[in-house]
């Protein structure tokens, strides 16, 4: 079991931990993207991400939610529009971490190796190539893996881990970047409900620590339980952007059909 605080949605006072909450973390303005002239995958999206929020993007397959995530994660370059990332947050070293749908873990390397990979962006090339990571980095990895209940499994290779454990390794790797924002694509859609609950509870704990999460999903139930803010996408556009409580679940389901 993961050792986390009981589930609770942070209220306004809880969110005011950093003193930077009046600033957005990230602002995307007028984003356009298309894959090889096959129509537009993302059409003129405007978006601001605030610190300490769990935002979920709901949409059918092909609605552009993964593309939007990849644009925000700097994996795809927008055809038009720009993304600003605001510094000054407590953990701004490398502000955005990205977790793909299949998690993208290196399967025949260990939990610890995969976690340490999160530090590649700020570890010297030759040290890391030889497999030597600085003491602080190793310390961070130990702390994060212990928090996520994975320290005992640090020498296990990924293909020996369960689905929930792999999910946590992916979170650990993302946390090693010391992010202010974690982008996660279809994060818990392949997990059983109990494990999904564990992982999302952990996500909420992270959010209370000031990290924002942007998670794509097609699971309406998940949104109503865990999101502070809901974005619904359809055909590359944002058609809803508000608290999930302001839209009846039936209407969400209707939009997903």
């Amino acid at each position: 079991m993961i050792n986390v605080n009981p589930l609770s949605i942070p209220n306004e006072t809880q969110r005011n931990h950093s003193g930077y909450e009046h600033l957005p973390l990230l602002r995307a303005s007028g984003l356009w993207f298309n894959y090889d002239h096959q129509g537009h995958a993302v059409e003129g999206v405007h978006l601001e991400i605030k610190p300490g929020w769990v935002t979920m993007i709901l949409g059918r397959s092909g609605s552009g939610k993964t593309t939007l995530l990849k644009l925000l994660g700097n994996i795809l370059k927008p055809v038009r529009g720009e993304i600003q990332i605001f510094k000054g947050m407590p953990n701004e070293k490398i502000p955005v971490a990205y977790i793909p749908q299949s998690l993208g873990l290196v399967r025949n390397m260990t939990t610890l190796d995969n976690t340490l990979m999160g530090a590649l962006g700020y570890t010297g090339t030759f040290r890391s190539l030889a497999g030597f990571f600085p003491k602080e980095v190793k310390g961070d990895a130990q702390r994060i893996l212990t928090d996520l209940g994975l320290w005992d499994k640090r020498q296990r290779k990924i293909f020996h881990l369960s689905g929930g454990e792999r999910q946590r390794v992916a979170i650990a790797r993302a946390l090693m970047r010391k992010p202010s924002l974690i982008l996660a694509d279809e994060f818990v859609s392949q997990l059983d409900p109990v494990t999904a609950l564990e992982v999302l509870t952990m996500v909420r704990t992270l959010a209370r620590g000031g990290i924002s999460l942007l998670i794509t999903t097609h699971d309406v139930g998940l949104v109503t339980k865990y999101a502070d803010r809901l974005i619904i996408m359809m055909e590359g556009r944002i058609i809803y952007d508000d608290a999930p409580t302001n839209i009846p679940p039936e209407e969400m389901l209707e939009l997903m059909r």
Binding site: G104, N108, M117, A119, T125, F159
Partner: protein, 260 residues
């Protein structure tokens, strides 16, 4: 629609069969008299092969050992050179223009058979095992680098994206995502290449590039068929032993990684 597809396949197969008959006829291989006289000559030749001359083993043994050394060092050297070339030929890591220039170069290396590389290096380094080793190494580079860059390209793009998203550079991406994800292919292809090279290095001696081939050709030209049979039997034994050893080693080294 189904009918048309079926008839297309039948026509294709028919064409292949007809072409084979035409070409075989041109080569006199459909002539029964030709086959009979060939058979007669083969029987006479087979008689000349026996009995084997075991007393030449002390001569053939060291030459065979040299053949093993040629393919061992040639494979190793080829491997060492092929990894950086495959690294540069991977479009996931480098711009297409750079990758394609390297691929073109590798294609060029592959067009020249190892025996011709052997001739080239005999010209440069003189007769002996050094020429054979370099010849084998060059051929190995052409093949291994191609097999490797194809394996590197086939690494799950989400793994590449996720590791790249950590802000790492090309070398780090290669070391932490692409190499470990394609480790099994890398290792099993080395063994495959070594087995293959043992066979090609047996004929390196034909052009004076060292090893058993020198004796094989010599015995053949001097019509010493009993010597030839002995050398061939020894070569066969060694090749089979190495194949077996390599198979055992490969299954021991390569770990099965479940797909999911």
């Amino acid at each position: 629609m189904k009918m048309r597809k079926l008839s297309f396949e039948v026509v294709g197969l028919g064409l292949v069969i007809v072409l084979n008959f035409v070409f075989l006829f041109e080569m006199n291989l459909l002539d029964c008299a030709q086959w009979l006289s060939a058979l007669k000559r083969m029987v006479i030749f087979a008689g000349d092969l026996f009995p084997p001359r075991w007393d030449i083993l002390p001569t053939v043994g060291p030459a065979l050992w040299e053949t093993i050394k040629i393919s061992f060092c040639g494979t190793s050297l080829g491997f060492v050179l092929s990894v950086p070339l495959a690294f540069g030929a991977t479009t996931v890591l480098f711009h297409r223009k750079i990758a394609y220039v390297i691929r073109f170069l590798l294609g060029g290396i592959r067009t020249i058979p190892s025996i011709l590389w052997g001739v080239l290096f005999v010209v440069a380094f003189g007769f002996g095992a050094s020429a054979g080793t370099l010849g084998i190494a060059f051929y190995t580079v052409g093949y291994l680098a191609k097999l490797y860059y194809e394996a590197f390209e086939a690494v799950d793009h989400e793994v590449v994206e996720a590791v790249r998203a950590t802000g790492c550079n090309r070398l780090q991406l290669f070391r932490f995502a692409i190499l470990p994800e394609s480790a099994n292919t890398i290792i099993s292809q080395i063994f495959f290449m070594f087995e293959y090279n043992i066979r090609s290095s047996t004929i390196m001696g034909f052009v004076g590039a060292g090893g058993i081939g020198y004796y094989l050709l010599g015995y053949l030209q001097m019509l010493q068929y009993q010597h030839l049979l002995t050398a061939l039997l020894a070569t066969l034994l060694v090749v089979m032993m190495i194949d077996y050893l390599s198979l055992k080693l490969r299954s021991w080294v390569v770990v099965a990684v479940p797909k999911s």
